[in-house]
């Protein structure tokens, strides 16, 4: 079951195509990471499926409904748009009361205070938002997405411009919300953030989805190589050519140091071969580390393959 899906979704401004025939399926209950450089079309896609802008062509379904203009659908989603701005003359708590009113909900003040405390704005709830920092506005933006206890939450760059402590708090909040079975669609520039939080990832570039899947699927598809780092006891110099010969057969980019070996291999099954070669050469192995490709590696690989 998909929380939302797009079919050939396209947005054009004049002759410029910002989002080009995008097919995307976001599984219910997942944290979906949407990656891409500035201008890739991430925000445009979110804006289309949340009703902020109209698609030029294509279709999409949100929580099974193809009609985002219906208030019934709007009440089941939460949206943090990019560049969130608020009413300068209203305080944090007044904003939440206003948004709850717009959604036709009667939330008690204590419920709204709890929501502000959840995003660490409890102390600032009676301060007008014109005095809020950028990070505080982001937090208020996140709080307003949660007013209606939505099933699907769109967060456009929720941690950009937010201090390090607050980022950790937002990450933990996202995890907690997702643990309740809600679907979160998250766009970010921060590759680490997406890698840590998301069950599924899509990478967009120039309006097109370049890759989509779980982290493991992306690794298999785009960056299957593993970097093996071995710490060992010193060995006689005369053994080096023999070891090099074995390791070059197994992998590539072999580096033989006095007490460290680094080899890039394609398959996990190559690791025992390396280990056996060291044992037969009577070299003691102290530690074997295997580095899997990061999202950054995949992102850079995709970027360089264009």
């Amino acid at each position: 079951m998909y929380a939302f899906e797009t079919n050939q979704l396209t947005k054009k401004y004049g002759h410029h195509t910002v989002v080009n025939k995008v097919d995307l399926n976001v599984t219910q209950g997942h944290i979906f990471g949407f990656l891409g450089k500035n201008g890739a079309g991430k925000s445009t896609l979110i804006n289309m499926v949340t009703g902020i802008i109209k698609p030029t062509s294509g279709e999409f379904k949100i929580l099974g409904s193809s009609e985002i203009t219906h208030e019934k659908v709007k009440r089941r989603i939460g949206v943090l748009p990019d560049y969130s701005k608020f009413y300068d003359e209203l305080t944090g708590i007044e904003h939440l009361k206003y948004f709850a009113g717009i959604l036709g909900m009667s939330k008690s003040t204590s419920d709204l205070i709890k929501l502000l405390e959840l995003v660490e704005l409890g102390d600032a709830m009676k301060i007008k938002t014109k005095k809020y920092s950028f990070g505080m506005k982001k937090k208020l933006g996140i709080a307003q997405t949660l007013i209606n206890d939505p099933e699907l939450i769109f967060l456009d760059e929720p941690t950009s411009g937010v201090d390090a402590n607050a980022v950790l708090n937002i990450h933990s909040l996202i995890k907690n919300v997702a643990a309740d079975g809600k679907t979160i669609f998250l766009t970010s520039h921060n590759l680490d953030e997406v890698e840590k939080l998301c069950d599924e990832i899509a990478i967009m570039d120039k309006g097109v989805i370049r890759a989509q899947g779980s982290m493991n699927q992306l690794r298999r598809e785009y960056q299957s190589q593993l970097t093996v780092k071995i710490k060992h006891s010193p060995y006689p110099e005369k053994q080096k050519p023999e070891l090099l010969q074995i390791f070059n057969k197994v992998g590539r980019d072999v580096h033989l140091g006095e007490e460290n070996i680094t080899i890039v291999i394609e398959e996990e099954s190559d690791i025992p071969v390396i280990n056996k070669a060291l044992i037969s050469a009577e070299i003691d192995v102290y530690r074997i580390e295997v580095d899997e490709p990061s999202l950054e590696d995949i992102f850079l690989d995709l970027d360089s393959s264009q």
């Binding site: 009703g51 902020i52 009440r75 989603i77 949206v79 748009p81 701005k85 206003y98 959604l103």
Partner: protein
């Protein structure tokens, strides 16, 4: 929709500009009523019992359009410009945003006109229900026009400028159109202004004005449905 209406209504009372306008309207209405109360017997003999409304009537006819425009020129495009519209459209239908804003601004003027007429009661010893309805209908035309301009024009500065130009042009051309049958273009233009209908001898013509207001409101709804924010 109620939340938007209420916020629009409340925010209009908070600005210095609106307080200034309220003071002018109430001051002129009460001042003229007080002055005319000195000639109470004479007015009654001449059958001009509703003369106590004169002050309010004149201020609304001459400056009403300008007052409405200056307060509500950015009722829609202000939200688009500041990007707060993005929060609204993800939470409620665009139609309700337009209607909620229209109702909120109209409610502000309803209260202002009502307060003015209540203040006239001690002098006139009566409440002018029909005149109240006519004044409110007249002013809602300009509320709907401001809303329309604010939807069509994306820049608040430009909608204010065009609003001010129309606030001067409409009363002038609308009034000329009542009296000059020979100026065809102006006459035709006056049909889409409330002045033509207010100027007719039969007061029931006034009740055509809401059709024009409704036209502006529907046009705003249709335009906003297609807009990107």
């Amino acid at each position: 929709m109620f939340a938007i209406c209420l916020r629009e209504f409340k925010s209009l009372f908070k600005s210095i500009r609106s307080i200034f306008i309220i003071i002018i309207i109430l001051g002129v209405t009460v001042g003229s009523a007080k002055m005319l109360s000195n000639f109470g017997n004479e007015l009654q003999e001449l059958g001009l019992e509703d003369a106590y409304m004169t002050g309010l009537f004149i201020i609304l006819m001459l400056a009403g359009p300008l007052f409405v425009t200056s307060l509500s020129h950015d009722v829609i495009n202000g939200e688009i410009h500041s990007r707060t519209m993005r929060f609204l459209v993800t939470k409620m239908s665009r139609d309700k945003i337009v209607i909620g804003k229209f109702l909120g601004v109209s409610l502000f003027w309803f209260v202002c006109i009502l307060a003015s007429l209540i203040l006239v009661v001690p002098f006139a010893k009566t409440f002018y229900f029909a005149e109240f309805a006519e004044s409110f209908i007249f002013i809602t035309y300009f509320v709907a026009l401001s809303l329309f301009l604010s939807t069509v024009i994306s820049k608040p500065g430009l909608s204010m400028f065009i609003g001010i130009v129309l606030s001067i042009t409409i009363p002038v051309l609308g009034t000329i159109g009542i009296f000059r049958d020979d100026l065809i273009l102006i006459r035709v233009f006056s049909f889409i202004t409330p002045y033509y209908y207010i100027g007719q001898e039969q007061t029931m013509y006034v009740y055509f004005i809401p059709i024009l207001s409704l036209g502006f409101l529907l046009a705003s709804v249709m335009i906003l449905r297609k807009r990107d924010f």
